[in-house]
Amino acid sequence: MTTRVGIEVSIALADAVKLANPDVVAAYPITPQTHIVEHLADLVANGELDAEYIPVESEHSAMSACLGSAAAGARTFTATASQGLALMNEVVYVAPAMRLPIVMAVANRALSSPLSIWCDHSDMMSVRDTGWVQIISENGQQAVDNTICAFRIAEDRRVLLPVMVHLDGFSLTHVIEPITFPAQEEVDKFLPRNNFPLPLDPDNPVAMGDFAPPFIFTEMKWAQEMALRDSKKVVLEVWDEFARTFGRAYHPVEKYHSDGAKVVLMTMGSVGETASVAIDEMRAEGQNVGQVRLRLWRPFPFEELRQALAGAEVIIVLDRAISFGGPGGPLASEVKAALYDQPDKPKIVSFVGALGGRDITVSGFKEIINQGIEIARTGSAREYEIYGVRE
């Protein structure tokens, strides 16, 4: 039976994992992901979730145990954040290269140093190039829905790639939101039993993880790239079916009053909802502004983004991570790259802000948009703008 409850998003995400019925959960606690793994431990302890819960001794071992579990053909889940994601970094590269379907929730949190338990996207950016399918959640409902879809996408025989579900640490993980949970029977129908094609099995010996001399390494990597690119159509298919089954539709790029808008703000993650309020207020005052929110980070939705931004004259991109000494906002760099060859290139202004959990308010977003419009008009000596730093 479908239920709708007010519930902390971490707990909701763990409940979504329960609905997906994984075989193995291997996780190491780290703020702000702790409530997810704690609730999963509870569910296993009470017999509500039939899974092997491996309380590993570090995140590196968490992802390594996930590799083993997925290679054995088991449905596998883990969750981490920030330092944990950084610690498991080499293993994160291995999972998609070995085509192992694993689902990981990342409670986005700033990377040290200095230590910060609060939200930003530096951890997300540290794994940008690893080859995972990456989906970004803006609210609790999306976190739940993305998690359920993630298993379906990852294990699809046409994909067989691990999927990261990002959700903002604290801003999402620790807030209580109204969330609709689909019924277990519905999810069971939506998520067929995991069926990895070549698992580790003494009846059919296979060797996984051979080394590649130069004559074949390029081909291995290209095969991986093709798999990630081709996964996009499966993502769209799954979201489509999800919409028809559960009534909530998701798209790689979400448009909010951006059609016809001359100035478009681009966001990722939970700040998007705050920014939407600013957009509403500015539009009420007569400004022709709109917003575009990125939901599918990898594979990057070039087509959808170009289509959504066509006709805009100024695009203001808010990043919650810095690429030090470089172009500043990683998302902004990617948008610039995506639009570079377009015939009518808009002006793109990169703002970095909301680092380490510092909130941007509605009026803050209005400031950003107005400053962005000004900079687009006059130009800037700076590669990118930093919002809110006290100088």
Binding site: L198, V206, A207, M208, E219, M220, A223, M226
Partner: protein
């Protein structure tokens, strides 16, 4: 007709580079490495199989008469079998071109 290594395309590879042919590397002629080879005086051989137990390559097996002999396709000429053979059946000699 199997492709040579340099002809393999990315589509020829199994997902994740998984190798589905167990023991396929046994096509490699490791015997080309050796600079000495085992020679046998089978009159002394008691067919105990100790040499086979100590071969790092696993290339020693009984021949038609049941005497244990190294498969020269693989034998790297380490000389362990000659050392371990207690009836002293095996003598290592220089490999000639």
């Amino acid at each position: 007709m199997a492709k040579s290594d340099n002809e393999l395309t990315w589509k020829d590879l199994e997902i994740g580079g998984i190798v589905v042919a167990p023991g396929s590397a046994s096509q490699y002629e490791s015997g080309t490495w050796r600079s000495q080879r085992p020679t046998y005086d089978f009159k002394k051989c008691i067919k105990c199989g100790i040499c086979a137990l100590f071969c790092p390559e696993g290339c020693i097996g009984p021949n038609e008469e049941g005497h244990f002999e190294a498969n020269l396709f693989y034998c790297k000429g380490c000389g362990i079998c000659a050392r371990e053979c207690w009836p002293r059946v095996i003598t290592m000699v220089e490999e000639v071109e």
